[in-house]
């Protein structure tokens, strides 16, 4: 063990560096510098640098504006621990560095495990817990701001007759169900995309591509019943909460507030990309089908529309948009079919006077 070390003493009052000789004692350091000798008890010192390779050892003593001792040779720490074995972890021990690497690897595993657990379990569970407490007024406000992006006024179809027809479909569906706190608003957007989506608070967007692909108002009602159920069951709100949670997780992972904050602000826009769990999709299917039947609409037209979309996927790639957000495995259709088997009818026609194919072209 070496007991004498060379270093630099800073007095905390001037920018002068004083060369210093440091002697390791059992209870403290004896420092000879700036023409004097002083004794620093170990208990009064704190080490603020020197735990990483390439750093010099920095010891400070005193309050806000401390005196400082700099020792370039990190081996000093090892000698310090030998000179004063009772001092413990107050000072870094370079011999422990390999242990630190081990712990860092363990920590990396921990981060991975925690991330997976939070992402797949924590955030969804939190969203389920929180969703019932979100006030309807907030859902409406989130939905409204999303509409400004997803259905900008200049893109909405202004045709009054079409608007009245679509509203008629919604009214027929909602009138059959129990009263709900939402006022459903449907926006037909003039884009060729084959898709429909729901935003919290009672906003449904139908794109022209999908509208034109519906052969009857009943088929459109089927799609709409599914989307309305996403709103009524608050799947949309839950998805928004999950999105925000993911943003926070990202923030923790990157250690940066600004990027993920921007991500969070994007949430409203990203509503168009909301993904629901498979269970939520099944629930929307099931309840949507019940809604159809309660409204005395033939559930077969809902199934027929989904089947057509599925069939066209090969020949007409544009319908893939709908399929990508509404995965349609064969068992989904089979399940719907099994449910609709209980339907006895009779169906009451929807919009009997309307020339539906012509109407859908008016956007």
């Amino acid at each position: 063990m070496r007991s004498d070390w060379a270093g630099t003493y800073l007095d905390g009052r001037t920018a002068a560096r004083h060369p210093a000789t440091i002697r390791l004692m059992r209870e403290g350091l004896e420092i000879t510098a700036a023409g004097g000798t002083r004794f620093w008890p170990y208990q009064e010192l704190r080490q603020t640098q020197g735990s990483y390779a390439g750093e010099e050892v920095r010891l400070e003593r005193g309050g806000e504006l401390p005196e400082t001792l700099l020792i370039p040779d990190a081996a000093f720490l090892q000698s310090l621990h030998e000179a004063a074995p009772h001092i413990g972890p107050r000072f870094h021990d370079p011999r422990r560095r390999s242990a630190r690497i081990k712990w860092t690897i363990v920590a990396a595993g921990g981060v991975l495990a925690a991330t997976v657990a939070i992402y797949f379990w924590g955030i969804p569970a939190l969203a389920v817990l929180a969703t019932p407490y979100v006030p309807v007024a907030w859902e409406e406000s989130v939905g409204r701001s999303a509409m400004a992006f997803l259905a900008p006024p200049e893109r909405r179809c202004g045709d009054a007759e079409l608007g009245a027809a679509v509203d008629g479909v919604v009214r027929r569906l909602t009138a059959a169900g129990p009263p709900s706190p939402y006022t459903m608003r449907v926006y037909v957007v003039n884009r060729p995309v084959v898709n429909a989506l729901a935003a919290p608070g009672g906003h449904v967007v139908i794109f022209r591509g999908l509208l034109e692909r519906s052969g009857t108002p009943e088929e459109l009602a089927g799609v709409m019943a599914h989307e309305l159920q996403h709103i009524l069951r608050r799947h949309t709100t839950r998805a928004v909460i999950q999105d925000v949670g993911t943003g926070l997780l990202l923030m923790a992972l990157t250690g940066d507030m600004t990027g993920p904050l921007a991500y969070g602000l994007q949430t409203a826009r990203a509503l168009g990309d909301l993904r629901y769990s498979r269970r939520a999709e099944e629930e929307a299917d099931r309840e949507g089908l019940r809604m159809m039947m309660a409204a005395r609409l033939d559930p077969g037209s809902m199934i027929a529309f989904f089947e057509n979309i599925q069939k066209e996927a090969g020949a007409q790639p544009e319908v893939l948009t709908y399929l990508s957000s509404h995965p349609m495995p064969a068992e989904r259709i089979a399940r719907l079919r099994a449910m609709s088997a209980t339907w006895q009818g009779p169906a009451e026609p929807l919009l009997p006077q309307a020339d539906w194919p012509a109407l859908t072209k008016r956007c």
């Binding site: 560096r17 990483y52 920590a107 923790a252 990027g259």
Partner: protein, 381 residues
């Protein structure tokens, strides 16, 4: 002297309002502009922080003399691997504590980055604590976050009269506007006060109200002139930020003028379309050079040699690294940026370190009413 507890503020930069018009391409990690004090700050003009002193032999035997030649450069000794290790542990603790550890994580990172930054043979030291950062953020949340949130709820959600909604929206907008200068000054005050070199603290002594005036005037004139006033606004801010920064008892000074950045700025706007926005990289380099070249400390003046091509190269490679590794490479990206910034920065000229005395500023806690609050500084992690 510095009274513990509250945080004084620190350097600046932080965010600059995006220039009207085109946003300069901003790669993930803007090259760390500032030397020491600010390895971590995000994009922005160079903070004047790094002083260095010397040349004049300190009283007493001074061992520092070796390279006291005229070219003094900051250097960075950290490496990406260690940074990555720190980040991993920080992340785990942040996740496990549901985010609370974030402030301590930030502090650890700064301690490492500052401690690896050297000029004139001495390292910088960061003295901030996670607790201060947490309190500072809580303060900002209480004074700005909560009121803005409540006002926005009144504006967007509650079913109240139109007049009330308009009023709430207006107050919320004003609060948000006022928040920027306060945050910039507060953060700079805190970070500078918590940074030292050779045991001497930096400090920032500008008043929030003066910054507010610069902001109000700058925003107004920038709007009225359709953005053309922006370079003047930028330089006014930089002047304020630099010329109220101190190392010990010695002040930094800045002698730039907005008209010098006016034409480069106009040129960048005009070239936005023809260069697909890449022209802004050259503007950013020009601005950074200009800011440093007009920053001086005593008789010594900074010299910056950043130019557009290498800066674009740095950003492009950094972006590529981040994309290819899904962001995991950020510690190495950060180190690259710091090396780049320091490699292009020098502080030639004499420094009279013997003259410098410790002169830390008292940093009050929350007391002293509103003005005390605004001037006490806080940092947003």
């Amino acid at each position: 002297m510095v009274d513990g507890q509250k945080s004084p503020g620190r350097p600046s930069f932080f965010h600059k309002p995006a220039p009207p018009g085109a946003a300069p391409p901003r790669p993930v990690a803007p090259p760390a502009p500032a030397p020491p004090t600010s390895p971590p700050p995000p994009a922005s003009p160079p903070p004047p922080t790094p002083p260095d002193y010397r040349l004049a032999p300190p009283p007493g035997p001074s061992p520092n003399g070796p390279g006291a030649g005229p070219l003094r450069r900051p250097s960075f000794h950290g490496n990406g691997g260690t940074l990555f290790g720190i980040h991993v542990v920080n992340t785990l603790l942040t996740l496990v504590t549901l985010g609370i550890y974030y402030f301590w994580a930030k502090t650890r990172l700064r301690q490492y980055l500052f401690g690896q930054t050297q000029i004139e043979g001495d390292r910088f030291a960061y003295h901030g604590t996670g607790r201060e950062l947490l309190l500072g953020t809580l303060k900002a949340v209480l004074v700005f976050g909560v009121p803005i949130f409540v006002l926005n709820v009144i504006r967007d959600v509650l079913d109240v009269g139109v007049l009330l909604k308009v009023g709430a929206g207006l107050i919320s907008a004003i609060l948000l506007f006022v928040f920027f200068p306060i945050a910039m000054v507060g953060a700079r005050r805190y970070r500078l006060a918590r940074t030292s070199w050779r045991g001497i603290r930096f400090s920032f002594r500008g008043r929030v109200w003066d910054m507010m005036k610069i902001f109000i005037l700058g925003t107004f004139l920038t709007g009225v002139t359709f953005g053309l006033y922006y370079p003047y606004f930028l330089v006014a801010r930089q002047t304020f930020m630099v010329s109220h920064s101190y190392f010990g008892s010695e002040r930094f000074s800045f002698d730039g003028h907005g008209r010098d950045l006016f034409w480069p700025y106009v040129l960048a706007i005009l070239l936005t379309l023809p260069t697909l926005g890449l022209g802004w990289v050259w503007y950013v380099a020009r601005k950074r050079r200009y800011f440093w070249d007009h920053t001086s400390f005593g008789p010594a003046r900074f010299a910056c040699s950043v130019s557009g091509g290498p800066l674009l190269g740095l950003w492009a490679v950094n972006a590529l690294l981040l994309v290819l590794t899904l962001g995991l490479a950020w510690p190495w990206v950060r180190v690259r940026s710091i090396h780049f910034a320091f490699g292009n920065l020098a502080l030639p000229g004499p420094l009279d370190l013997a003259r410098i005395q410790q002169d830390a500023q008292r940093v009050s806690a929350m007391g002293e009413g509103l003005s005390g609050f605004f001037d006490s500084g806080f940092d947003l992690a």
